[in-house]
Amino acid sequence: MFESLTDKLTNAMRHLRGTAKLSEENMAEALKEVRAALLSADVHFKVARAFIERVKEKCVGQDVLKTVTPGQQIIKIINDELTALLGEGSTELSKKKPLKIMMVGLQGGGKTTTSAKLAKALKKDGYKPHLVACDVYRPAAIDQLETVARQIDVPCFAKRGTPDVPAIGEEGLRVATASGDDLIIFDTAGRLQIDEQLIDEIKELKRRVNPDEVLLVVDGAIGQEAVNVAKTFNEAVQLTGIVMTKLDGDARGGAALSMKEITEVPIKFAGTGEKLDDFDVFHPDRMASRILGMGDVVSLVEKAQESIDEKDAANMAERMMAGDFNFEDMLKQFSQIKKLGSMSSIMGMLPGMGKMAGNMGMDDKAEKQMKRSEAIILSMTKVERQKPQLLNSSRRTRIARGSGTKLAEVNQLIKQHMQMKKMMKKMQGGGKKMGNMKKMMKQMKASGMDPNQMGGMGGGAGMPNLDNLKF
């Protein structure tokens, strides 16, 4: 998508070569492409229009650079502008203690899950969280909150049999404070912004518990509706932040820009999965490139840099290239991959790879597979790990028994290792670009490797080369 937008812009601006300055006329076609890109990313049409105006103003009169194509020049301006807009305002929560947070939003957006995620994250920062169940409508909503609270070992206040939400909130607050807890999160029922009665309910809840933060939780794939939703909720309960959820999917998330533009409420957090750890502060630069369809290259590179010991990686890459890749290396790779987080989320960050990650089954299943592979390697002796050729059938049987796996699995892993080794030799000097990586994956598939056993591969092919990834 990035390529296609860049391509489109390059095309649209081809005639600019030789022109001295950007002007409204010579940019018209390119800006049309930008508009189409924004609209198909679900940016609200009014916001898209205002944004284009802004970009136009920035561009008009600028010298056409000689070093980059005019298309690249514009995309840089757009990207910067988008990042700036998305990033205005603080993503920090209030530092107050006790801190009271009220979650609001449409049905099914992720409020309950996010309440627990937030509690879990802030617990690490030293808060003592207490959840308060204020959804009295959705069947089993209270059970759901109690369940997630138990999962993170946090108390949960609930009162069944009464629909008086403000009173529940007040009592929950009292109970929480009395037990010395200093982070109180109110999970409310999903409601439509046009449901006046229910909007009144959260207004009243707000008045009674006086939260320091009011967070609007929104599905990252929401459409044009986002603007009405954010606007109405903001008017009713004065939002202090927005949480975009389900960003582990492939929605472009243009609503982020719309809501930010219309309400000026900062986007504070991102939900990136169903598990309670899948939660992150909001990164405007990543969102900007996502909206423009450029994948999350930046965060991938950052994440990789954070968690991979560079020396280790370089060493390994060297050994790999020399065809000297043994089971010790494979084991190290596993731990690096683990540090990076789930494989599907890594793959999802790469442009054009989100789908591939899906196709290749590189997620929980692959992770489970990785664990089994790890167990197998750990049952090898050190010498065996370094010299896989020693692994005769009696050793293999012993390893299978020791690791609680089947002989066939051990054989499979050894075969996989051999194939990887071969592949790596082939790759010499080549594995730097995505094209090659894709080709390689195809080869692996063709060579009969189970795509679900990519445990070793994800690391082998991608990770050590990450620093060299260029798009």
Partner: protein, 308 residues
């Protein structure tokens, strides 16, 4: 019949009002000009119709306007609805029940789209219609998902099969079919866990549900319906495409149309994938579910006369 129709109108009335509010200026005004066409375009975008359908309606309007400078607002509404009706031709999905064994309807979709609620609504509707439905709680993953459907079933008096949290969802589906058949139910509605289309391991789980159902009846599930949140934007097309490719869909249910969203995404989905739409959801109550009809939908969108 009448009540269904009325309900539909009530549900989409808000939609009709809001699009008419935006286009209303245009439809009401006597003559068109360039800026009104822009307004039309924006109103269509605001309905999540997507780029193509929007451009198509706008182009047709412009063509008509060039031919006839006296074009009136009313004519624009007519053009819009004829384009939309053309795009949506053949989009009405209907359940054909099988005889002698349970008809299995499996509801799937991304997280939070309305699967569980739709399961309950469908069960309720079929019960009202004199059928003998059963529901199966195959979301063994999300916190309290089983309790959610159990609560619906006890509220609505629906027979239910549910496993334990964390159990194999396919095993629950298998048992559910067996129980449905043994207890003489003619319809089995299966609620599944929400899953993003990008997660292949979760997609495999769906395939497994189908495999075990087919051990009972090769044609099961007779209907795999994707439940789509009507307030989502262009990503719903992607969702439908991937679920269809990976799992195979028979059609759609579009929910949450009681809001101000027009569920325009269904137009984009139908346009690209030709997946028929079966039901529309208009709220959280069991009766807030309607059979989808092209004419109703289009009329509601373009604010055709209420009394017609």
């Amino acid at each position: 019949m009448l009540s269904i129709f009325k309900k539909f109108k009530d549900g989409l009335a808000k939609s009709a009002k809001s699009i008419a509010e935006k286009t209303g200026g245009i439809f009401g005004r006597k003559k068109l000009d360039a800026s009104t066409i822009e307004e039309l375009e924006e109103a269509l975008f605001a309905s999540d119709f997507g780029y193509e359908t929007t451009e198509e309606i706008v182009e047709e309007t412009q063509k008509a306007y060039k031919k006839d400078k006296d074009l009136r607002g009313k004519d624009v509404a007519a053009i819009g609805s004829s384009v939309l009706k053309r795009v949506l031709e053949g989009s009405e999905g209907r359940i054909q029940f099988v005889e002698g064994s349970p008809t299995v309807i499996c509801l799937i979709g991304v997280n939070g789209s309305g699967k569980t609620t739709t399961t309950a609504k469908l069960g309720y509707q079929y019960k009202q219609d004199g059928r003998n439905p059963m529901v199966a709680a195959c979301d063994t993953f999300r916190a309290a998902a089983i309790e959610q459907l159990k609560e619906w079933s006890s509220r609505l008096g629906l027979d239910i099969i549910a496993g334990q949290h964390g159990a194999d969802s396919a095993a629950v589906a298998f048992d559910a079919y067996q129980a449905a058949k043994a207890r003489g139910h003619d319809t089995l509605i299966i609620d599944t866990a929400g899953r993003l289309h990008t997660k292949s391991n979760l997609m495999d789980e769906l395939a497994k549900i189908r495999r075990v159902l087919q051990k009972h009846d090769e044609a099961a599930p007779h209907y795999s319906l994707l439940v789509v949140d009507g307030s989502l934007g262009s990503n719903s097309i992607e969702q439908a495409r991937v679920f269809n490719e990976k799992f195979g869909l028979d059609g759609l249910v579009v929910t949450k149309l009681d809001g101000t969203s027009r569920g325009g995404a269904l137009v984009g989905i139908y346009r690209e994938l030709k997946l028929p739409i079966f039901f529309l959801g208009f709220g959280e109550k069991p009766e807030d579910l309607q059979e989808y009809r092209v004419d109703n939908y289009v009329d509601a969108i373009f604010g055709a006369d209420e009394e017609e």
